[in-house]
């Protein structure tokens, strides 16, 4: 074993946060969220969505993505926020998620898309405990960029978890 002693700060600085990297930020209501760019396949303006019966309300339906039929989820509804009518700024972000070992493309409806930011480990903090027993494994953490707080989402977890209604209340 090495006998050199590292100071606490140096040790922390040497550890690279696995959450660091490029993120796509987008807005939902008053909050700004971010998801890892590696998961994003494309971004498009909202288009006509074919409704599919017998699905939860946050599953808006399916769209034609260049010959592939992919499901589309409204993130507002998924988080328990009130539904908003789609505007010109509303976008569908197509992400690649993994479920039970297979990869899938899914569309996510967001209010508007902002920009791509590069986050360093130092910018990222752990998610605070929201109290009231709200568990948030789908939140990777929070980051401060240009004075604004972005909530980092593990989009894979978001899409594969059933009920996330607690988030809206927790953030309120």
């Amino acid at each position: 074993m090495s006998s050199s002693v590292l100071t606490a700060e140096a040790a922390v600085a040497m550890k690279t946060d696995p959450r660091a990297g490029k993120y796509l930020t987008f807005g939902l209501g008053k909050e700004e969220f971010a998801i890892q760019v590696l998961r994003v396949r494309e971004i498009m303006g909202v288009q006509e969505i074919t409704a599919v019966p017998q699905t939860p309300d946050y599953v808006k339906g399916v769209i034609n993505l260049r010959g592939k039929v992919i499901p589309v989820v409204d993130l507002r509804l998924k988080f328990g926020m009130p539904e908003l009518e789609y505007t010109q700024r509303t976008c569908i972000v197509v992400v690649q998620i993994e479920q039970e070992g297979s990869k899938m493309l899914t569309g996510v409806v967001v209010d508007e898309v902002s920009e791509v930011v590069t986050l360093q480990g130092a910018d990222i903090e752990d998610t605070p405990d929201f109290g009231r027993g709200v568990a948030t494994p789908y939140l990777l953490g929070m980051a401060k960029v240009k004075g604004r707080v972005k909530i980092l989402l593990d989009i894979n977890m978001v899409m594969t978890t059933q009920e996330i209604h607690g988030l809206a209340e927790a953030l309120a």
Binding site: E48, T50, V52, Q54, V62, K68, V69, P71
Partner: protein, 591 residues
């Protein structure tokens, strides 16, 4: 990057730099697999005729090439097995050894062993999983036994010396000088290349090239999109307004060409059923050796082409039916002789096209199905009521019931009663049919009928409110707008309609799917007489929009199992239309 700790010698996976080049390794796996497939074919030919020198040489070259390539890449374990088999084959080639079925068994086992290796290496390439080398001690021992046993009968001195030299070699080779070995193996490998590929082309294949299936699938997807884009252009209302004849002509030409390209792209996914048949050849041989029964397999129509996916899906059901035939249908040679039949039983596999379907026949000239045994078993299992009158055909179809099996003892090959109902399910999944014909004492025949393409169906576009649904035409019997007198209500709740003297239940699609229709008045709506799972009912829709050939696309992920929906399709205007599953709709709650 961390480097793996490796103790040379103890670690059979001595992957040197060359092997860690994924492209080289991938090429090796593909090539080796091809050689191994060819080797198996030749082995089966050799089994039929032990004097077939062409086959023997081809098998030798196959293992020799793999040995060389494995050496080049630094895979001593693969090299060792290939080398041992090569030694035996060389002895056979030079007359120092006669090929018996035992030899074929061991060499087939070696081929299987190397196939396992290739699978492990493939795992390494696709998932980065460290390969788990299959154990080779037993195999090597049995290979040694082969050459050892025959040395006594062959001219003593030379053969014994050759064998000893050969036995000494593999131990020295991988450890001693990897570079020298690699270089010599490489030159040997390239020298062996030409003859090996010569064998490939001589086996009667038409000119063809290998294409990565991913590229092919991508091309087919792109062509599908092209057809839609072309259709959007052709039907664009702005273009219709200009009405210029030259433009119309050009668009029509474009449509024609696009159609041709699509047909060709779809045809590229078709492959001959040959590979499935060859799997059966190997299976029958192994089964015949295992059960001691004498069986000959006849194959007809191996050039019959079908969609790649269907071939894959048919493999298991067909294998199971062949197993059943051999295990339960075919008698031992003695029994057959006693019954006045030829000692060798015949199993026939025949494939043919018929009007957009593929017909597959699996016949044997064994005992046939025993209606008494089946009926007895079915009664025991409570599948048949006492005194029920069943036709022979009904009795035959009882074998498809879950948990059914008339085997006296559960053999290691089949008989656990899991088989036939799973087979039927699989065939139904392919939207196919399976029929049984049998004459007691003479034999049994299974007839499979499967549509040529899984993915395309003819659909009727029907609108309900703003939504457009696709009703598969194979389920549609007729359509009409009902008049008041035809309609009636049972118990205030179940609506019925009189169609050609029969009272059919009415299924309101808008209620099942929770959509707002244009009208709820039945006499203003369209009724589509639908038949599914033997039941007839009438679907209520607003209007008929048209007919379209559509490619069924899975809805993906959690949407896959929604009752009443078979999938989605891209409509002519680029929207997604939901394809109905008539059987599912009938069973849904919410009338």
């Amino acid at each position: 990057m961390s480097t793996q700790e490796q103790t040379p010698g103890a670690d059979p996976l001595h992957l040197n730099e060359l092997a860690s080049d994924p492209e080289l390794l991938s090429d090796f796996v593909v090539e080796a697999r091809e050689h191994l497939s060819a080797v198996e074919l030749h082995l089966l030919a050799l089994d039929q005729d032990p004097k077939n020198h062409e086959a023997l040489n081809a098998i030798f070259r196959g293992f020799h090439t793999i040995k060389g390539l494995a050496g080049f890449l630094g895979l001593p374990a693969v090299q060792e097995v290939a080398h041992e088999v090569e030694t035996v084959l060389d002895l056979a080639r030079t007359g120092g050894l006669t090929v018996t079925p035992k030899h074929i068994d061991v060499i087939l086992a070696s081929k299987d062993h190397l196939n396992e290796w290739m699978s492990e290496l493939q795992e390494l390439l696709t998932n980065g999983k460290t390969p788990k080398p299959p154990g080779s001690q037993e195999l090597l021992a049995s290979i040694h036994e082969l050459s050892a046993n025959n040395v006594e009968t062959a001219p003593a001195g030379d053969a014994a010396a050759a064998r000893d030299a050969a036995a000494a070699d593999p131990v020295a080779d991988p450890a001693a000088d990897p570079v020298a070995t690699a270089l010599s193996s490489l030159s040997a490998a390239t020298a062996a290349q030409e003859p090996a590929s010569g064998v490939e082309s001589r086996s009667g294949e038409s000119r063809s090239i290998k294409v990565d299936t991913q590229k092919l699938d991508f091309l087919v997807d792109m062509v599908g999109e092209m057809v839609i884009a072309q259709s959007l252009v052709k039907h664009d209302p702005d273009l219709a307004i200009t009405g210029k004849p030259r433009l119309t002509r050009n668009l029509a030409q474009l449509a024609r060409i696009t159609g041709e390209v699509q047909r060709t792209a779809m045809a590229m996914r078709m492959i001959p059923i040959r590979q499935l048949f060859h799997k059966m050849t190997r299976l029958v041989r192994d089964l015949s050796r295992k059960t001691g029964k004498q069986i000959e397999l006849d194959l007809i129509g191996e050039d019959t082409e079908l969609d790649r996916n269907i071939v894959e899906e048919l493999a298991d059901p067909v294998m199971h039916m062949v197993r059943n035939s051999v295990d339960h249908g075919i008698e031992t040679a003695e029994e057959r002789a006693r019954a006045g039949k030829s000692r060798t039983a015949r199993v026939l596999l025949k494939a043919a096209h018929q009007a957009g379907h593929i017909l597959l026949q699996i016949s044997d000239d064994g005992r046939g199905l025993s209606t008494e045994k089946i009926l007895k078993k079915a009664r025991e299992r409570g599948l048949v009521a006492e005194g029920a009158q069943l036709s022979d055909n009904d009795i035959f179809n009882l074998i498809f019931a879950p948990g059914f099996s008339t085997a006296e003892q559960v053999t290691s090959v089949s008989g656990r009663g899991v088989g036939m109902d799973v087979v039927k399910k699989q065939i139904l999944k392919l939207r196919g049919k399976i029929e049984i014909q049998s004459v007691a004492g003479k034999g049994a025949t299974f007839l499979l009928k499967v549509p040529l393409t899984l993915a395309i169906i003819d659909g009727l576009l029907a609108s309900v409110g703003k939504e457009v649904y696709i009703v598969p035409i194979f389920a549609v019997r007729e359509m009409f707008r009902p008049s008041g007198e035809m309609l009636s209500t049972v118990e205030q709740r179940d609506e019925m309609v009189l169609v050609r003297g029969a009272l059919l239940p009415i299924v309101r699609l808008h209620r099942k799917f929770g959509v707002q229709p244009k009208t709820e008045v039945l006499s203003d709506s369209l009724l589509i007489v639908t038949e599914a799972a033997g039941k007839r009912f009438c679907l209520v829709v607003d209007e008929l929009m048209g007919k379209q050939e559509v490619v069924i696309k899975s809805l993906g992920g959690s949407l896959r199992n929604i009752p009443g929906l078979a999938g989605g399709a891209i409509l002519g205007d680029g929207r997604v239309g939901l394809i109905l599953d008539p059987e599912g709709i009938f069973g849904m709650a919410g009338r």
